[in-house]
Structures are given as structure tokens and as C-alpha cells.
Amino acid sequence: MPVLKVIYFPIAGRAEPTRLALKLGGIDFEDSNPNWPEMKPKVAPLQLPLLEVDGKLVSQSIAQTRYACKLAKFEGKPLYPEDPFQALLVDELVDKVGDFFAPLIPTFSIADQKEKEAKRAELTVKGGPCEKWAANIDGVLAKSSSGFAVGDSLTMADLVIFLNINSYRTGMLDGISP
């Protein structure tokens, strides 16, 4: 097993699916919170999270999570399917969650609280840019007989849906109510 280090801010965010996959798979890793202003110029243009694998720094959070899910087995099954078609269904869902989240990204830098909440309300209204993806993913889950997103066991898709959509039902983002 390679020596792994997850490098990110001390928040869940984009590193959490990777951390969760490694934990579920019982794979040791160092959870590192760097001094980002100090680190940034050294690794530019790479952004956080970074995954260090046997000393090599790799960027792109979804790529990192997919890698972790290939290494991690949960109840005997890898979190990323070996069958190409099952993997395709997982990848499709993961990318749909990305499309769900993308319209929210610019709202994080809106300084005015009222404006931020108003913008987020637009996104989450029925048929809005975020809601339409959540509804589509809900439809995919509705078709599952196992309750898991793809197939009949836990996969990367479940982790990403759980962390990146369901987490917002906690009211953790201003303007997005549970």
C-alpha cells in the first residue's frame, strides 16, 4: 500500500470523499492541513486538495477520490467497480453531482449576505440549476432496488452523493434550508 497524505484545509469540502473512502477501506493516511499561503506559490497552479502518493503530489479531487476508491474495499468489494459499465454508471453520477454543485461555487464569494442567500434561493428553487440535478439524481436512486446508488454495494457514487448533496440538508450553507 502506498504512503498516502491528504493535503487540504481542516474542513470536509473537496477532500472528504477521499478521506472517507480511505477510512472505510481501513487504509492508513496522513491528514495534513498545510499553511496554504506559504504552500501555494510552491505548487501553483495546482489547488487543494492535493494527494501525496509515495512522495508524488497529485491534484484534482475527483481523480484522487477515484484512486482511493480503487484501493479501498468495503465489506470485500472495492468502492470503485472493476466492471467498466458499472464504473461508467458511478462516474456518471459523480459528474452529475459536480454539475449540481458548480452553480453554487460563485456564490461563496458574494460578500453581501442578502445577495448571497437570494442567489442560492434561485439555484435551489424547483427546476433551478442545482435543483434539477438533485431531482435527476433522486430519480436514479428511486430506481435502485438495493438502496445503493449503483449496483448492490457501496460505491464512490454513494459517498459523493452523501457528502456533496445530503450535507446541505444540514443547513450548513446560508440560504439553503434543510
Binding site: 494527494l51 502518493v53 484534482q60 477515484r66 484512486y67 459499465f85 459528474d95 440535478w133
Partner: protein
């Protein structure tokens, strides 16, 4: 073997690496090309899914990178699948593909700009040295510079090469108003990479018969096979 159908527009955009992977891998597929009106009709039926779509034995799947990864697992060139089986090698490919795919993002909002002058001006801002697209291309150029073989990664043809080749050629096609064909001429590794991939026999054969004008810069500059 699965029955595959790729549905996309005629131009070499986000479906191009998919089509190319199937083409060089010698995998049969139905190439379903939609005009803008046909898409407007189809769109509400599949919303929020976008093109490209892949149909696998009757099941419709969306998301261009997911589709690409799948076909690159099936497609072999010179015995090697275009998507590595080793998880770490695959991680490097996935990282680079995600970086390359992000390159189109700044261009997407410009499609909706009605006024041609305004659209060209906006695109010029993206392409100027230090602008978002030029910076993206310069970064990819820098990654290619690390390779001794000329392939992006692992000294063999991978999904990452197909992405770089098709996206760079799309920008160089001359079919995007406001984006000149010589836009990336100052990035030597990108230029060499384009030549290298275009000259691969299976790639050359794939583009040989393509007459759609945007495909001109995808073809090898060496003499045609015929």
C-alpha cells in the same frame, strides 16, 4: 461486444475524444450526429442531461468524461488499453484529463453572446497571454515538456493524449470566431504533441475521410495514405 451509439453534434467538441478512442481502438459504434434543431427537440426529453450521450445496449448514459473513461477501458492501441489498469497510472491520467477538460469552461459562456463583435472581443480576452485559456494551454505545454517519449504520460498513448489532441485541435480549427488558428503556435510542446498524435497510423486513418471543415487541423500534415 456491446452495441454502442454516440450522440453529439457534428463539430469536434466534447464527444471528439470519445469518437477518436472508439475509432483508434477499432470498436464499432453508431455515430448519431444531431443538428441544432434536432437537439432543441430532444433536449426537454433528456433534461438536465446534455450531449454527448452514449447508448450502451439500449441504456443511455451522459457525462462526457465518464463516457470517455469507459470507452478508453475498452479501446486498445498496440495492445495497451487507453485507460490504464494500474490505479496510480490511472490517477495520473485522470488528473491530466480533468485539467484538460477544464480548458473549455471559459469558452462556454461566449457561445451565448449574440453580438459577433462582442463575442470575438470576449474570446480575445481569454486567449491573450496570461488569459484563462492561454494559461491553461501553457500549463498543458509544461506538462508535456516533462515527457521524454512525447506522449503525455507513461510513454504510451492514453486517454490524456486524446483529450489534449482533440481540445487543442478544436481551438486551432479556425471555426471559433475570435480564436485564430495560430493561437498556440508559441507553445512548442503542444505543437509537437499535435503532430505526434496526428501521425499515429490509427489516428491518421480515422481522420483521413473526414470532410467536415473543422477537422482539417486534426489531419496529419504528412502525405495522406491514399
Amino acid at each position: 461486444m456491446q452495441q454502442l451509439k454516440v450522440t453529439y453534434f457534428a463539430f469536434p467538441g466534447r464527444a471528439e475524444p470519445i469518437r477518436l478512442a472508439l475509432g483508434v481502438g477499432g470498436i464499432d459504434f453508431e455515430d448519431c450526429v444531431l443538428g441544432p434543431e434536432a437537439w432543441e427537440e430532444m433536449k426537454p426529453k433528456v433534461s438536465p442531461l446534455q450531449l454527448p450521450l452514449l447508448n450502451v445496449d439500449g441504456k443511455t448514459v451522459s457525462q462526457s468524461i465518464a463516457i470517455n473513461r469507459y470507452v478508453c477501458k475498452l479501446a486498445k492501441v498496440d495492445g495497451n488499453p487507453l485507460y490504464p489498469q494500474d490505479p496510480f497510472e490511472a490517477l495520473l491520467v485522470d488528473e491530466l484529463v480533468d485539467k484538460v477538460s477544464d480548458g473549455l469552461d471559459p469558452l462556454v459562456p461566449t457561445w451565448d453572446i449574440e453580438d459577433a463583435k462582442e463575442r470575438e472581443a470576449k474570446r480575445a480576452e481569454l486567449m491573450v497571454k496570461g488569459g484563462p485559456i492561454e494559461k491553461w494551454a501553457a500549463h498543458i505545454d509544461g506538462e508535456l515538456a516533462k515527457s521524454t517519449s512525447g506522449f503525455a504520460l507513461l510513454d504510451q498513448l492514453t486517454m490524456a493524449d486524446l483529450y489534449i489532441f482533440t481540445y487543442v485541435c478544436f481551438f486551432r480549427s479556425g471555426k471559433l470566431d475570435g480564436i485564430p488558428q495560430d493561437s498556440f503556435d508559441h507553445l512548442s510542446h503542444l505543437c509537437l504533441h499535435r503532430e505526434k498524435i496526428a501521425d499515429i497510423p490509427q489516428v491518421k486513418v480515422y481522420y483521413n475521410d473526414k470532410t467536415f471543415p473543422a477537422y482539417a487541423c486534426f489531419k496529419s500534415s504528412q502525405a495522406s495514405l491514399h
